[in-house]
């Protein structure tokens, strides 16, 4: 048990050492003549415009909120699905009621235009 963890610890230490050694070694060897051209974005990619701290569009939040419905639905569907055969018809009907209520919520969000991207 202990040796297993020691191996992990050794791996971490060695990994850190390896990266550090490579970077420091390169820093010693390479010539250092910085210029503006070198600082530019290389080969692919656009030159940045403005700041990267932009506001996300509010629509993303709305979609995220609607997504949560189904995200959480699965958390309950999965345990039921695993034991569905054993639980029988009763649990099936209950699950359908649960899904039905969520469906009402989805239809409601749809009617309110929460799913429209415009």
């Amino acid at each position: 048990m202990l040796t297993d963890y020691a191996f992990v610890a050794f791996f971490i230490v060695f990994g850190c050492f390896f990266v550090a050694a490579a970077l420091i070694g390169a820093w010693f060897i390479r010539p250092q003549r910085p210029s503006r051209i070198k600082g530019d974005i290389y080969e692919c990619g656009e030159t940045t415009r403005g700041t990267s701290w932009v506001q996300y569009n509010v629509r993303f939040y709305l979609v995220a909120l609607a997504f949560v419905i189904f995200d959480v639905e699965v958390a309950f569907l999965l345990p039921w699905a695993v034991a569905a055969k054993r639980l029988g018809l009763y649990a099936f009907v209950e699950m359908m009621i649960f899904v039905g209520i969520l469906l009402v919520a989805l239809v409601y969000a749809w009617r309110k235009g929460a799913l429209k991207w415009a």
Binding site: M1, Y5, V58, V68, V72, F76, P79
Partner: protein
């Protein structure tokens, strides 16, 4: 060294503490919300740990944590919606700026 339930309790307590610290120090309402989520998940760790302690045929702890996940999601949705409403009306989500309600 073996990993015992106490270690998991320690991890859970640490996570909870970090969450509480985030809640107390963050100015941004979304940051506070993230701290709250951390606190809830810390409890989840604890619940699942003790579910294991009390044996595989009783699933109380896992069941509880499943509901906690659901509640956390619902809370995050409502929290984000409220933060959005406040942001729309006053252009900031800093907790310190919420001081218009006074006696």
């Amino acid at each position: 060294m073996t990993i015992t339930p106490l270690h998991f309790v320690g991890v859970s307590a640490l996570l909870f503490g970090i969450g509480l610290l985030v809640v107390l120090t963050r100015r941004n309402a979304i940051g506070v919300l993230m701290g709250i989520e951390l606190m809830l998940n810390a409890v989840n760790v604890q619940l699942v740990t003790f579910d294991r302690v009390y044996g595989p045929e009783r699933l109380d702890g896992q069941l509880f944590s499943l509901f906690v996940i659901t509640v956390a999601a619902a809370e995050a949705v409502v929290g984000l919606a409220l933060i959005l409403a406040v942001y729309r009306s006053r252009g900031t989500v800093a907790v310190d700026d919420l001081h218009e309600l006074r006696g």
